[in-house]
């Protein structure tokens, strides 16, 4: 495992679990979806990430200082959520450490939740979700479930790097991208992503409360979205909207 970032298990996370990653990205889709899963399923904290590379941020919940990146879960479902954007210099160390840890955990499936920005998002009532698989067997599963496949393009940020590393290490993984706002919190897109998660890993996560509280979530997520927007600019996230030069 890369020693730069450590995954600390406070309670042992078993092998063969499904692991959801919710990092701040376009529309905060992953952060919103991951937080909702944790609240809806009343998951307890079982671990966290720590590193000298992290900015000096401590999150305080119920008078307890915590790492900004934490893992919640039980039985065969675990969720990693981050309350800080992943700066460009952290992307590769995070991917290296996470994938190294995932390899030891031999997961059933790793599901990264994110957004794919649409300039005309306000015209979309039901965001579509695109999936990028780590290997052909995941591709077959996605196709059998009629989930749209992300065929061509550029991906900027942690998720693309993590998925590529999972592919190289033979870890079954999928990156789900819901059509979303780029710069505004998008609970609607998060709900669409979770509906696909339910199909993939046979869960029954209700999105009713997420849709009902969407306006409140947008207000609460405002400051994390601002910081994430700054980080996305640093990474030149808008490159995702470019036409790639090569098609092979």
């Amino acid at each position: 495992m890369s020693s730069e970032i450590k995954v600390v298990e406070v309670k042992r996370i078993p092998q063969k679990a499904n692991i959801i990653l919710g990092l701040p990205d376009a529309g905060l889709v992953g952060s919103i979806a991951a937080t909702h899963v944790i609240e809806e399923m009343k998951l307890n904290e079982v671990g966290f990430l720590e590193s000298k590379l992290f900015p000096p941020i401590v999150v305080v919940h119920e008078h307890t200082p915590k790492s900004p990146i934490r893992i919640y879960g039980e039985k065969n479902l675990f969720v990693l959520v981050s309350e800080m954007p992943i700066s460009p210099y952290l992307v590769q160390p995070l991917a290296d450490s996470l994938v190294s840890w995932l390899k030891k955990k031999n997961p059933q499936l790793v599901v990264s939740l994110g957004g794919i920005s649409r300039q005309d998002r306000v015209e979309i009532d039901n965001p579509n979700v695109y999936a990028l698989p780590s290997d052909e067997s995941i591709l077959k599963m996605l196709s059998s479930l009629n989930i749209s496949i992300f065929e061509e393009g550029l991906l900027v940020g942690s998720y693309g790097v993590i998925l590529k590393a999972c592919r190289l290490e033979g870890i079954p993984a999928v990156y789900l991208m819901a059509e979303s706002h780029l710069r505004y919190p998008d609970p609607g897109a998060a709900a669409s992503a979770l509906e696909v998660v339910n199909k993939l890993i046979n869960t029954n996560i209700s999105t009713k409360a997420l849709k009902e509280k969407s306006e409140e979530i947008k207000i609460k997520a405002r400051d994390l979205m601002k910081r994430t927007d700054y980080t996305m600019n640093e990474m030149q996230k808008l490159q995702e909207q470019e036409i790639p030069m090569m098609y092979r």
Partner: protein, 126 residues
Amino acid sequence: MQGGEDPIDLFTNQGWNIRECCIEPLMHLEDTGESLRVTMDLPDVKKEDIDVIVTDKTLEVRAKMRRTYKFSRWGTVQRSVEFKSFKKIITLPTTIDPNKVASRFKQGILEVILPKKQTTKRIKIT
């Protein structure tokens, strides 16, 4: 913090104003060439509760939320605060024509199109 200073004064330029119970909305401004396009995220707001006021150099948006949002322990103030509205005043990077401004509000996103004041002139080459 100097002695006797009200901590609330420290929080009027951070994107929120506790005294006025308002927060700044998330906003994006882009220059599309012939106009400026401003979008703002205004969750839990009705169209009829939004005020958009323009001059040739500024855009002001005020919007009342449908309900009050209360946070029991807000940031470094660590006390209960309430927010009831959004407020944002922008100085525009270029002069616009207030008579041609258009706006729409859909799915919680306010879009304001501000055409630039035309100062171009065709020059005849002799």
